[in-house]
Symmetry: C2
Subunit: 236 residues, 2 copies
């Protein structure tokens, strides 16, 4: 894994970053909410930030847009997506389709090394939680779901989970009560316990409940639309 945390720096390497790396970095930045919904992603700024040419950035933004993580407004630029209520429902619906199955597969296929890595991950998650490292806690708790998809050894599912976890972070940023973390880590512990017992059905069921809990903690009713609701914000 990468030694994260200093992601806003320029590149010091000789090699240039590829589109996929830039996309991954922006995904990360969104996951731990350094890039809130609606943030303008100007090409020039990103060129400087990543030390690459404009074309590279342009392609990266296109890829991000195809995952609905950024919105591309013609002649206006790229903005971090701010999901609508309907989109939020769609994301959770899709997660409920996929991730219980991912958890089931992962529970069936986890090697001893996978279990050890998961345990280590949960330890980090706990530390971040109790050490009041909120940003780390958010990132790790989102990444738990990604790690599960890696253990499940299905590249298609992995890609989908990455996208959905990232979009969930945006959704939490908009509809979440302030201060609420990405997941309750106790849920993660329970899921891991099912892994230990090789109880894949329980793992799937717990994942389903976990996602439902998460969704219920959001305020998906009557929240205003997205970015430029200044008129909605300032009317009283």
């Amino acid at each position: 894994m990468n030694s994260l945390g200093n992601a806003a720096e320029q590149e010091i390497r000789d090699e240039e970053l590829g589109e996929e790396e830039i996309v991954a970095r922006i995904f990360e930045a969104i996951i731990d909410q350094r890039l809130p919904p609606g943030t303008k992603l100007s090409e020039a700024a990103l060129c400087e930030a990543f030390g690459v040419g404009r074309m590279r950035i342009r392609q990266s933004l296109l890829l991000l847009a195809s995952r609905e993580v950024v919105e591309l407004q013609p002649n206006r630029g790229a903005f971090v997506a701010s999901p609508s209520v309907d989109q939020a429902r769609e994301v959770f619906e899709a997660r409920l389709m996929i991730e219980p199955n991912v958890a089931r597969l992962a529970a069936e296929r986890a090697t001893d090394a996978d279990l050890a890595a998961l345990e280590q991950h949960l330890r980090l998650e706990h530390d971040a939680h109790h050490g009041n490292k909120r940003r780390d806690a958010i990132r790790l708790s989102g990444q738990f779901h990604v790690v599960l998809a890696e253990v499940a050894a299905n590249a298609v599912a992995l890609r989908m989970v990455k996208e959905l976890v990232t979009r969930t972070s945006l959704i939490i940023g908009i509809f979440g009560s302030p201060g609420v973390s990405n997941c309750r880590d106790d849920d993660h512990d329970d899921i891991f316990a099912a892994f230990r017992n090789r109880d894949s059905e329980t793992a799937a069921r717990l994942m389903s409940e976990h996602l439902r809990h998460l969704q219920e903690h959001l305020e998906l009713n009557g929240h205003a639309e997205g970015t430029s609701d200044l008129v909605a914000i300032f009317r009283r």
Copy 2:
């Protein structure tokens, strides 16, 4: 719906095609197997085919690559993907995760208009089958799954199903017995019957079985890898 069938033509419209349209057109061409796996997609040829600039084509190819429908070899160009056995398994695994749930949702949410449209679609599918219009039959039978995702009214799932159906077409092209169609349309009829009865659980179960049937009719054992296995092909 579009009046398909003459998709290899140039554009006569005044408006230029957007990336999304080009991507959709290439998806279609792959679905009804006009573009077999491994086909070279040279930029110049595509520029002429769609009547757009090279940048547009380049972006379209990038999007297709991000969906793993084309493979982008650095400095060598773009090729229609030829999925490996492992990738084929992943695709079916993912379809089994998603599409039964899609079928369930669609059965719950289908309006009368949706049911009528589905019935009409099945009629077309039958006609194509019995009229020996193999290409139409393949396209329609793949499209049935896409229509279901549309009825399910979940944009995330719709995007995934489109990708997975397209990749399945490539998989059938590689691992399918020659002449086998994309799906057995009887299965589709059964699924639709469950829709009529508002029996969403049965719809989900039938979809699961349908996908399993499809997978079992392929030869996912001991088949050589992908494109340039000339050494494998010509050794005896």
